[in-house]
């Protein structure tokens, strides 16, 4: 036999399998494009300007923008000026969601963006590097008539980054500055029905708090959450994919263990890839419907990170094991130079993620980008991760180049080789080229769809159907990498076809070695020539390492 199933499979079967996988792939795209709604929704809110009339500030008082117990509102600040209301008594209130709707755990997460409407006034311009200090409280309730329960309360600073596009003249007074979006809040689970945000902009002239921030006319918020329909489709997909990958993984490992030799590095890496894929697949998110697990967002990030680093490591090791330069590898430590950047880069991103989303577990209003030190630190982590990624791709490209150089080198000498050696190398070349092709295809598809979904925000019309490009991208790409892992585990599993049509190569060796051929066959055919390569090389008239 010649190692992996892929080499022993007839072209017909391979084509059938390819077509089946493509059908599944198309199905994955269609599920996202036709059934699921767009992945996320953004909802605008304009904060109502409530007046806190109480003399002594009570911490428990919550201000509702509308509804039965709504607060006393003012429509504009001219009104406040006329009524002599102080800045500290104005509370910006936002109720999430809008009227007659309620939030649901199916929304998975909620993040809120803050925007100020700042009017230009000649005598009240935004100073350079102005900081806004907000005193913000978040409360929830599950019943439209019950009391609000506080969830978080914090003093936050955000840097105003605004510019005024037209000339700063009296003529243009009253126009708005164009300000950058400010990250405001992130909650990892939406387990309550109603949320209420109360924002104050306390002014303290002595301490220079909220001085020189221009004439704020309005506070606008945009809340983003995942759509319930998308979550359902996503969960369904995960629930379906988990057993598929799990079964093929068990099958694959059983095949490996059936071999009389211990598994080689590449086989272990493929298993690890399968495990990380299963890890990402397991639909633990189902629990988020019943439990208030705010760490789910972070957990999802970690799972994805593990899978990505596993996939990248797999490519490196796969290339390395197909180098065909007769160096003894088969040890993880050989690849430290290539895998190092991956691990280090992922670690950097992990730290960054922990800084942002980790801290948000306790304070949903926290943002690394809010402070200068935080911004620099975050940028440093991202840049280091970026350098690692570049390094990795350099290594990978170099390795692929090496493999191709070796392949072309081997090509010329192939006819002169003995049959066993030739088949061995032909197997290696075929396996490598096949994976190379599939990987390139998958990567290209991912990139193309990523670009399409970035350029086309929204949907396409296809007859009467509305195609959600973004959802199709997510389900399609997710399905694609699942199929990729599935195909690798299936095709690169050791073949059992020992006595079948591929006997030739085995026989060739058996002819030379007689009785103890069984093991030798496998040695030649394992993806890397491991345990006793010397013997084969001797047989082939070549001393590998001596």
């Amino acid at each position: 036999m010649a190692g992996a199933i892929i080499e022993n499979m007839s072209t017909k079967k391979l084509v059938i399998m390819g077509v089946t996988l493509l059908l599944f792939q198309a199905f994955a795209f269609m599920v996202g494009g036709l059934i699921a709604p767009s992945p996320t929704t953004a909802v605008h809110y304009l904060a109502a300007k409530c007046v806190d009339t109480s003399k002594h500030r009570q911490e428990t008082k919550w201000f509702m923008p509308w509804g039965q117990d709504q607060c006393e509102k003012i429509r504009s600040f001219e009104e406040a000026m006329a009524k002599k209301i102080e800045a500290n008594n104005i509370v910006f209130a936002v109720h999430i969601p809008l009227h007659y709707n309620e939030m649901s755990p199916w929304f998975q997460f909620m993040l809120v963006i803050l925007q100020f409407d700042i009017a230009f006034k000649m005598y009240n311009q935004i100073e350079d590097g102005a900081l806004v200090t907000v005193d913000v409280g978040l409360a929830y309730r599950d019943d439209p008539t019950s009391e609000w329960t506080e969830m978080a309360h914090s003093f936050e600073q955000r840097k105003l980054n605004c510019n005024f596009t037209t000339a700063k003249t009296f003529e243009n007074e009253g126009r708005y500055y164009e300000c950058d979006l400010l990250p405001f809040m992130e909650v990892g689970s939406v387990s309550h029905k109603y949320y209420l945000l109360n924002i104050r902009l306390p002014v303290n002239e002595r301490k220079k708090i909220n001085v020189g921030i221009g004439e704020i006319k309005d506070i606008r918020l945009v809340s983003i959450h995942q759509n319930g329909g998308f979550t359902k489709v996503w969960f369904a997909m995960k629930t379906f994919l988990t057993p598929s990958i799990l079964i093929i993984m068990i099958w694959y490992w059983r095949r490996i263990t059936l071999l009389s030799r211990p598994p080689v590095l590449l086989e272990k890496v493929i298993l690890a890839l399968g495990i990380s894929m299963t890890f990402i697949n397991i639909p633990v998110e189902w629990f988020s419907i019943g439990f208030n697990w705010t760490w789910m967002l972070l957990f999802g990030d970690i799972r994805q990170g593990i899978f990505y680093s596993m996939l990248l490591s797999f490519w490196i090791i796969f290339c390395g094991e197909h180098l065909m330069d007769q160096t003894e590898r088969n040890r993880f430590s050989v690849y430290w130079r290539q895998v190092g950047p991956i691990v280090f880069g992922s670690f950097c991103l992990f730290i960054f993620d922990m800084c942002e989303r980790g801290v948000q577990l306790t304070n949903p209003f926290y943002s690394v980008w809010a402070s200068d030190v935080g911004t620099e630190l975050a940028m440093a982590f991202i840049i280091v991760a970026g350098i690692c990624a570049c390094l990795y791709f350099l290594f990978l490209c170099f390795m692929v180049f090496q493999v191709f150089r070796n392949i072309s080198g081997k090509r010329t000498s192939l006819p002169a080789m003995s049959k066993a050696r030739r088949l061995h190398y032909e197997g290696l070349i075929f396996r490598f080229k096949f994976l190379m092709l599939v990987t390139l295809f998958c990567a290209a598809m991912t990139v193309i769809f990523f670009i399409v979904s970035q350029v086309h925000d929204g949907h396409w019309h296809w007859g009467d159907h509305e195609v959600q490009v973004n959802s199709a991208f997510f389900t399609g790409v997710y399905g694609m990498w699942n199929l990729y892992v599935f195909a690798i585990m299936f095709l690169y599993a050791p073949s059992h076809k020992r006595y079948g049509d591929e006997q030739s190569s085995g026989q060739c060796i058996t002819g030379d070695h007689g009785a103890n051929s069984g093991e030798d066959i496998q040695l030649t055919t394992t993806i890397t020539h491991v345990d006793a390569p010397t013997e084969i090389y001797k047989m082939m008239g070549k001393t590998a390492q001596e």
């Binding site: 929704t41 953004a42 909802v43 304009l46 406040a80 909220n210 004439e215 994805q304």
Partner: protein, 391 residues
Amino acid sequence: MSQQQSTLPKTGCVAVTRRTMDNRSVRRRRTGAVRHLLLAAAFLACSSQLLVVDANSWWSLALTPIQRPEMYIIGAQPLCSQLSGLSQGQRKLCQLYQDHMIYIGDGAKTGIKECQYQFRHRRWNCSTVDNTSVFGRVMQIGSRETAFTYAISAAGVVNAISRACREGELSTCGCSRAARPRDLPRDWLWGGCGDNVHYGYRFAREFVDAREREKNYPRGSSEHSRTLMNLQNNEAGRQAAYNLANVACKCHGVSGSCSLKTCWLQLADFRRVGEFLKEKYDSAAAMRIGRKGKLELVDKRFNNPTPEDLAYIDPSPDYCLRNETTGSLGTQGRLCNKTSEGMDGCELMCCGRGYDQFKTYKHERCHCKFHWCCYVKCKRCTTLVDQFVCK
């Protein structure tokens, strides 16, 4: 004029007779027409209820203070019947969406304010007259200025409704595309609700165009051409508000990467909408009613107007002198700029009649110290300025 037509059909009838006579386009086409033709037209107009309502008067919502809708008990009709200037269809929409009316008023107000800003240096300065026709009789002429006014007020409504949406003041906001309130929570849970700007656009289309759509003039008539012109300009205004809204996006994928990105529309500063429409005003297309009952270009060499363009059917009247028939207020008493060579210059503004010069003290708040809300400490500066007023 004619605002109370539903309660006083008699006055309405008289008003229409007068208007038909005032109507320049009619007068122009039938210059030597016999008097009984006019009488017949007046009779026809009286028999059809729809015609009598003044086409522009929903703008009057900007002038009449609308009480907060929550003051009215559910299903209360008084609000809608009290509001003057609504057409049949608009009144129906008012009953269905009572909470929207105050914002339509706001929108009209924003539109008028912006119109006055954009035309502050022109002979016609978008001034309002104090009755429900809002702009006076000038709007009965299908001129460029009328086109602009329709467009900017439609844009104002888009703006105001979208804003009200975001304030959470409207009960149907966003989710209204499913006109089934019972399924509404399901839609929201499944795919969220549409964008507020989109909702604002759609509602404005329903409401503003309702008046034009319910009219049923014979194809090819001058009234029909006016209806088509209004529809075109309303749409241009709404599109301006909608298209100028810029897309803002936020990346929030793994570690904040852009693998997951959400975008939404953000309304532009209304001043920008005004400027955009002013440009459209300058390049507005002169149209006339064609044989097929559609508007066609007077000068075929130009490109056909897109839905974003303004169109007009009548030449602008002379805004120099006060004219009761056209409704022009004239430029007498208007301030002008002596040094300017443009429209605000005294030469052009006063139509060559000359100007008076006098000195006045101008009081301004200056050296203000401002905090974001509620305190302004200013000094008062007084300057002596020369002012020029048209004779």
